[in-house]
């Protein structure tokens, strides 16, 4: 199956609609971006979504991919929040709703520096977190590779719906098979023993990068109960994130991240020696 024949995901849009009901829609720089400002239980927040734009003039970025416009568009929306709140001790939270199938794969994208567009988004999210904006990601669909780095991976907390349609990975399975000279079946077999290679969410959770999975009735199109549940998860997280909590250290606690911890421990010992 080619990328073009895969259905366009509507999940992100549904969750954005539900979670931002009653919030104020902000003018986004590009049509593939949706932004809303509002409050979650008294916490000011800005909700951000990258969505498909079938009319995008960049043909390789019309199906929800994070491309040139999306990278800089996200950066502009986040940078705006940082500047607006610069003198405000209460920094609004940034909530990234993540449903991104991939970065954009195309000639125009490479030629015009897609890596730099995505760096703009990564930088904006990281600067926001360092400035004291609580940053939370909610994975409702795919969170793939460079697209996830640019939209979601710099968060203080990463939440995911407990659903098989939610996937985190460095590369789609077909391409990964080709690059590593294996079949997709072989990849699946390996993944059973090697959690970082797996495509399922439980394996990903064992890496320590996620908060507890959120069980919902419908990941595709949230029910009222689902929205209530996710809102309460967001509120708990916002109450939990302390002003000085600006780093990513808590990700190192996973069962399957022993080597990441060992490297840092030994490095510190040698550094101080």
């Amino acid at each position: 199956m080619t990328a073009q024949s895969k259905p366009i995901s509507k999940r992100g849009g549904h969750w954005f609609d539900g979670l931002t009901a009653g919030m104020v829609t902000q003018q986004a720089a590009v049509p593939s971006l949706r932004i809303a400002d509002g409050e979650v239980a008294g916490h000011a927040c800005r909700v951000l979504l990258v969505q498909p734009d079938p009319d995008s003039h960049f043909p390789r970025a019309s199906r929800g991919e994070v491309g040139l416009l999306e990278g800089y568009g996200l950066a502009a929306a986040i940078d705006d929040a940082i500047k607006t709140d610069a003198d405000n001790p209460q920094k609004r939270a940034l909530i990234a709703i993540v449903d991104v199938p991939s970065q954009a794969y195309g000639r125009r994208e490479e030629a015009l520096g897609l890596h730099q567009a995505l760096a703009a988004a990564v930088s904006a999210y990281a600067r926001a977190r360092l400035a004291g904006h609580p940053v939370i990601s909610l994975l409702v669909g795919k969170a793939m590779s460079g697209a996830f780095l640019a939209h979601g991976y710099q968060a203080n907390r990463i939440f995911a719906l407990a659903d098989s349609g939610v996937q985190v990975h460095a590369m789609g399975k077909a391409a990964a098979a080709r690059v590593t000279l294996r079949t997709e079946e072989e990849l699946d077999k390996l993944a059973a023993d090697i959690p970082p290679m797996a495509y399922d969410l439980e394996s990903y959770a064992s890496l320590g990068l996620l908060e507890p999975l959120v069980e919902v009735e419908s990941a595709e199109s949230p029910s009222t109960n689902d929205l209530g549940k996710v809102r309460s998860v967001l509120v708990d997280a916002l109450n939990d994130i302390q002003p000085g909590d600006t780093g990513l250290e808590r990700r190192l606690n996973g069962v399957n991240r022993g080597a990441s911890r060992l490297v840092r421990e030994q490095l510190r010992t040698q550094w101080e020696a």
Partner: protein, 288 residues
């Protein structure tokens, strides 16, 4: 070209950087005698994931990290060994880079200015450790954004691998980016683009197309890097010191948002792009 046997100060003739190992690259750029490698191969911190897949691990996991000095100023340095697993980043190698950047941040907080130099020869995430490579890259990126508030983070891309995948985004976060003619920089590797988008979009065997769009000359001409330097140890050592002396930029390239966004919104995509149009699009209206 044989490997560098003496220090970089012994510069009587042009000495290629591209053929040097990661370790020698760091040694050749730092002040003579100042390099102190941390987590050396003797520490045997190997990938916990490769052996399970029948791949022989390497005792440094393909990443060399060190403390040292540049013009007598403290720096940390990291170099990825392009020859091991395509310069791919796994859990251990990624943690080494993130870890040393995190320690450099702590030094700066304590009032000890410490900059960073990164030699990026990498295809990005090591697919055999997929999600842990990706996670490590996110952590490296976070550390760079924090460290560069204090001191410059300088990236060097000289080939032969080039800098791709998530690590090209990392390069885009650095304060300064130095490239050579043999260096390449781009998000997606040619094979993956061809696989995803088709051969008409991107022919991975068309070397002229690929180098024309992503090679060092083009990246410098489009303003996506700061310095274009010969593949020569002495020239690179000077360029790195110039970047360090320039200090933290007023505006990092990654935080220049409005003007590239406007250019891309106005860009006419009806025709396929070539190197000339990319140069025009990315530099129009800029003062030299």
């Amino acid at each position: 070209m044989t490997e560098l046997t003496n220090t970089a100060l012994n510069r009587t003739e042009q000495l290629g950087f591209i053929d040097l190992s990661a370790r020698k690259r760091i040694e050749s750029l730092l002040d003579s005698g100042s390099m102190r490698e941390l987590l050396t191969p003797f520490d045997r911190l190997t990938s916990p994931w490769l052996e399970k897949q029948g791949i022989v691990p390497q005792f440094d996991d393909g990443v060399v990290i060190a403390r040292g000095k540049l013009d007598d100023k403290p720096v940390v340095a990291a170099a990825i060994e392009g020859g091991f697993q395509g310069g791919s980043l796994g859990e251990v190698g990624g943690a080494k880079i993130a870890g040393i950047l995190e320690l450099a941040i702590e030094e700066n907080r304590k009032g000890n200015p410490t900059a960073a130099v990164l030699m990026l020869e990498t295809g990005g995430v090591r697919l055999q450790e997929a999600n842990l490579g990706l996670a490590a890259i996110a952590e490296i990126q976070s550390a760079i954004v924090e460290l560069r508030q204090y001191q410059p983070v300088i990236a060097v891309v000289t080939g032969p691998v080039g800098c791709f995948g998530g690590m090209s985004i990392t390069a885009g976060l650095c304060s300064y980016l130095i490239i050579t003619r043999e260096g390449r920089l781009g998000l997606n590797g040619p094979q993956v683009i061809e696989q995803e988008a088709g051969v008409e979009e991107y022919d991975s065997r068309d070397r002229g197309l690929i180098w024309g769009l992503t090679g060092g000359i083009q990246r410098f001409a489009t303003g996506l890097v700061d310095a274009f330097v010969d593949d020569d140890v002495s020239a690179l050592a000077t360029s790195v010191r110039d970047c360090l002396a320039a200090g933290v930029p007023t505006l990092h390239r990654s935080d220049d948002i409005a003007s590239p966004l406007k250019r891309l919104q106005q860009f006419d995509t009806r025709e396929q792009i070539d190197a000339q149009r990319a140069r025009f699009t990315l530099t129009q209206g800029k003062t030299a």
